[in-house]
Amino acid sequence: MKTIKEINEKIKKGQVVVVTAQEVIGLVEKKGFKKAAQEVDVVTTGTFGPMCSSGAYFNIGHSKPRIKLGGGTCKLNDVPAYCGFAAVDIYLGVTAIPDDDPHNKVFPGEFKYGGGHVIQELVAGRDVRLEATAYGTDCYPRKKLQTLINIKDINEAVLFNIRNCYQNYNVAVNLSDKIIYTYMGVLKPNLGNANYCSAGQLSPLLKDPYYKTIGIGTKIFLGGGIGYVAWQGTQHNPSVPRKNNGVPQAPAGTIAVIGDLKQMKPDWLLGTSMLGYGVTLTVGIGVPIPILDEEIIKYAAIRDEEIYTQIVDYGQNYPQMISGNLGEVNYAQLKSGKISVQGKEVPTGNLSSYSKAREIAEELKSWIKKGEFLLTEPVAPLPGVESGYTFKPLKERPIA
């Protein structure tokens, strides 16, 4: 038994033992849970995939004369940002696209540029064009603003993602006889390919399936800098079916994360274009798991072979909200490059980069080893299996 305080003391003294969520698997096989739990202090996880419920807020500073963007309009490199706040606060969502983007009018749309790309450019230190209009008031008389802005000059630039880091995700296939363009990538007809999106055995919430260490307030690697878990993410769904090892068999827990964008890096926040679907941001996240006892290392050492997920038809079932799946596979099978669905051998593709996830886990490991990153105690837990917290569909009701 260890405490986070004791682990932090070891980090400060340079005596901490840190391994990645991949390395811990081999270590546990060699030494057993008990010995490994005594030796290892922290297991680092990582994930690097497209995460659409992401965005950033900015306070751009007051112009002379003053302008109130609240109630007006604001665009960053032609991408509309939300400005229904006070005078100069704006929020840019990663899936926002310019008004004159052809969308899916010429199908499938290419979606070359949007909010995710603007965030990447800002983080890279490039100037971004801001164009805003307002209705003008006695205290904020200006009605138009056109200026270049740079992340180093504006007041706050904060990445605030309301849902990231899905604990497990569907494998997407297409049973229809037409090619389809989805957020899970291009899916060829008649089970032409199977796309998945998870780092599997490196993915943060899969290595702490019951949220025993990851909670609100947990300090994390976010976009190449430091961030925190702010809340459970939207659509957090802890009560889905789980295997005996605690791992959910379908999309389950999520986290909302926050961090200062100014200290993040463009390598870990990538503007991303999904053909026929839209734009998004590929986000790099790494979460440290403190090995407080044997139970926690048991979870942290779960292997790809032990993590199962469901295969879902995106040709008909997903878009029409029809429940059911086409069976289960584990991540070792997915990573082998082909799986069997309805008796057919189907090649697999991952939207989430495992090699980048490993780099994130390695980077976080090196921060902790160098004493640059201390662990935090969560201030409140994420809603767990017994909480009754669920993910409900919309209840549509006629208006009149």
Partner: protein, 135 residues
């Protein structure tokens, strides 16, 4: 026998000439057209897999060059921008020739340009648009 994938650029004045026919007739070369079009500048572009005896192959290439056809190996035209690629692997099942492969150990994606037929399916499928075509 030798077999290579090459990109032929035909200048405007050659677009209406039966050049490829002569490769077959005079040099006994086999060809497989992977892509062919005339650009808005009226330059002809053809991606060919050309197969034949080494001696004939070299003579055929010499003939093409003597006509004024510019030749490039295909590997110079479809390239991966290493700085943009995240090695996610979503392109892998899309590639019809197995030119994009995930290494089972490193989980990095390898691009074997000698297998590429320049179909360009990977170009728009890539979420970070790391695959680039430079004809």
């Amino acid at each position: 026998m030798i077999s290579k994938r090459i990109v032929l650029h035909f200048p405007h004045r050659l677009v209406d000439q039966p050049i490829v026919y002569k490769l077959v007739k005079n040099y006994e070369l086999q060809f497989n057209i992977l892509k062919a079009y005339v650009t808005p500048q009226e330059e002809g572009l053809m991606v060919l897999e050309l197969t034949g005896e080494k001696e004939n192959f070299d003579k055929g290439i010499e003939y093409l060059q003597s006509c004024g056809v510019r030749i490039q190996p295909l590997s110079q035209d479809v390239i991966r921008n290493e700085a943009k690629c995240t090695d996610c692997g979503v392109c892998v099942p899309i590639c019809p020739t197995g030119a994009l492969v995930v290494d089972q150990h490193s989980r990095k994606v390898y691009f074997y340009d000698n297998k590429c037929i320049a179909c360009e399916l990977c170009v728009k499928v890539c979420p970070t648009r790391a695959m680039e075509v430079h004809f």
